[in-house]
Amino acid sequence: MTTTDPAPEVTEEEERPIGFGRLLRKEDPRLIRGMGNFVDDIQLPGMLHLAVLRSPYAHARIVGVDKSAAEAHPKVVAVITGEDLAAQGLAWMPTLSNDVQAVLATDKVRFQHQEVAFVVAEDRYSARDALELIDVEYDPLPPVMDVRTALDPATAVIRDDLDGKTDNHIFDWETGDEAATNAVFDKADVVVSEEIVYPRVHPAPMETCGCVADVERVSGQLTLWCTTQAPHAHRTVYALVAGLPEHKIRIIAPDIGGGFGNKVPIYPGYVCAIVASLVIGKPVKWMEDRTENLVSTGFARDYVMKADIAATSEGRILAIRTDVLADHGAFNGVAAPVKYPAGFFGVFTGSYDLEAAHAKMTAVYTNKAPGGVAYACSFRITEAVYLVERIVDCLAHELDMDPAELRLKNLLKPDQFPYETKTGWVYDSGDYEPAMRKAMEMAGYDELRREQAEKRERGELMGIGVSFFTEAVGAGPRKDMDILGLGMADGCELRVHPTGKAVVRLSVKTQGQGHETTFAQIVSEEIGIPPEDIEVVHGDTDNTPFGLGTYGSRSTPVSGAAAALVTRKVRDKAQIIASGMLEVSISDLEWNKGSFSVKGDPSKSVTIQDIAMKAHGAGDLPEGIEGGLEAQICYNPENLTYPFGAYICVVDVDPGTAVVKVRRFIAVDDCGTRINPMIIEGQVHGGLADGVGMAMMQMIAFDEDGNCLSGSLMDYLIPTALETPDWETDHTVTPSPHHPIGAKGIGESATVGSPPAIVNAIVDALKPFGVRHADMPLTPSRVWETMQGNHTPPI
């Protein structure tokens, strides 16, 4: 029999901060008891189960679908095909990039595992059984799998559903000044060029995507429990598509088992479940299996980037230019602000002071699954940071300079902030060198280089990789940023009850980041109510204000600002009430995090709890003040916030097997003001593990016939506790000047910053072989090929 020792590891004050500090999570007591409420945990009376039939072909015309045998299955309630949906005008839906995507294929299938039909049955197993009874006749077409040839004139046209479409082109995009950049390149001492590929990867949260749809027949009320990171945005899209009034749609995102961007888009399965519930009149559950998750939902990356960097022979970086080929799959499902088809890739100038920069990009359709912005990328900053941090290392190689020294020489200086980049991004604040120096000190950088030199003498392969990244998060100012016409602002409501307990309602939604804890801390910091007395309500459109949701590390920069400001609004009102209670003017009051006292006479004071009771109680309030103590706000960020960090990775490569071991990983992050250091550290750790996966283990690969080769966790490898080291983390603090509490966001920094550090380390280890560049994923076989001089790009 086991017992528990609740003795705290940290002091009382650290454990129960009023405001910021290490605070154990409010979410944990239910989750460690198995009492979370995830979508697949939901059981409703009479609930039916939906399973989706998917295409075995990547590109094929649908000749016919015979569903009679499936319909005859005793436990099947309905079988719906694309044609059935088309009859209702529901076969297509908008994507988040103003493209359309088939809910169920009608004319053609355009990627392997595309949705073709669905079955609704009394139980999970029967629904799956019945899929086998549907007979679909396909007429295969040549699949377009190679992004490099997708625009060749002879290539099959994937999107012949679009009026007048005669090729696979989606968009061209550019940023920066091409002429000025070329002029700098022309005069530069050194120019280094490399083709850098960021392969297709997948966020693969442990919980797959799914929903339970329940349409109430008489009232027409739809309740959708859904694995969504953006419940309000989803509701509006459903309202626009289905013509249902928003007040008849309630989206509930219950506990979510990780998102990482995978749960931003609207997937056909959600729409199918809604249609099924509408048609049948019973609640319907759809839950993907792992293969469906990997092969059909939002992928990430898939950029082929030609990069050039120009520098002086002393190592002063002058300019960067890039030409990118972007594979968007069969439907353009990128979830990025409308004016930013390449997301925030424009920050590819990195953390350096350049004279000029230019990027151009062409995006194309291929017969692969749609998606494009997912997996903790801060809207394509993963790609941008990987590009710049890899090409800077190529430059270091060419100049025979230490990569850390080269970076130190070129990092932006503190007096340059706010800094406008050559592509028009205004970095809010930064003090880069101390972060870099701290990481080098933690690593024992010079000592590591000495060790490496000795090992090289002995033929051992050890690599040290450095990356320095600047993130851009917190989308975004509504003058520039919207998704499908919805401004990227976030609402927040705070209500203080008579006894001084409070409830704060957010438009964003945790998928593990700990919002129930950190948002209580933000409110607590501003109003002095202990976090345990503040309930955080989120993930339910009926009970929270409108806002665009949690992705792109936007919760703290946008919604966190909203929470701080709404609390200040409440505090301002509390101050007026306090002035009445203490019979002094407002300006004579002093705030002491939880109470107002009369300046110079601290004995005369009222707590926020006293004020709350007064606000709701009997007796007059100061003139013009209504009863109650609550406020709401909609926060429109003035700018993005720009977290940054310095990462150092140490690897050992086995010269006989080419197996790479990540020996150490040092991460110094600066996310501005720190709300809960324990949670920040956790966010960083998770992203670093992501980096190990992307750099060394995983890729969503296809064969030339269009078969997805990465449809299970046996093929798409995710790091375990054995591939990951014990992370060494630390921080610097450079607050954001425009964010009310100076916080910048931390959710994706490590996913953005770690892949280049790891790849740089592996390439550094392979320096004795003359290697300057190698593409991810650096699996043992790809490292081995590189050692043999046979490195090939992964796509």
């Binding site: 020792d5 999570r25 989750l31 949260p205 442990m206 990780g258 750790h685 995710i718 054995l722 014990d726």
Partner: protein, 161 residues
């Protein structure tokens, strides 16, 4: 068919389809939804339960195979309102974020500590290496298990005095 087993100390006897997986039996039929499901290929370990004290991926077993055995799920860790030290350790050391892998991780940790009360970091990493966490990067899970080991040791010393 009929299957009878002990779950969290309680005898259960249920009519099942022979092909029913143990994970679905536990989740859907018994309503113990703390045991999760995350893959089709026995890779993720979100479904781990203890069978006769040993960690087992409940997606790789038929419910029928558990007949006659003693099954423990995350719901069985807390006894009479007292948390298992492993649960306390995960809270103290931020061993969870989304909480989806957590029940499986905690049960594996419980089994490990029952057989090896003072495991090294390496042994802990090996023990949980059949399970995937997408959120934590594992260091805090390792720390949670170490915290538990330390506290169980101090409780043992304390109770013997």
């Amino acid at each position: 068919m009929q299957v009878t087993m002990t779950i969290n100390g309680q005898a259960v006897s249920e009519e099942i389809e022979p092909r029913l997986l143990l994970v679905h039996f536990i989740r859907d039929q018994l309503g113990l939804t703390g045991t999760h499901w995350g893959c089709d290929t026995s890779n993720c370990g979100t479904c781990v339960v203890l069978i006769d004290g040993e960690p087992v991926k409940s997606c790789t077993q038929l419910a029928a195979m558990a007949g006659g055995h003693d099954v423990k799920t995350v719901e069985g860790l807390e006894v009479d309102g007292v948390l298992d030290p492993v649960q306390e350790g995960f809270m103290q050391c931020h061993g969870l974020q989304c909480g989806f892998c957590t029940p499986g991780m905690m049960l594996t940790a419980r089994a490990l500590l029952d057989s090896n009360p003072n495991p090294s970091e390496e042994v802990i990493r090996e023990a949980i290496s059949g399970q995937i966490c997408r959120c934590t990067g594992y260091s805090t899970i390792v720390r949670s298990i170490q915290w538990t080991a330390e506290h169980e040791a101090s409780v043992t010393i304390g109770s013997s005095s």
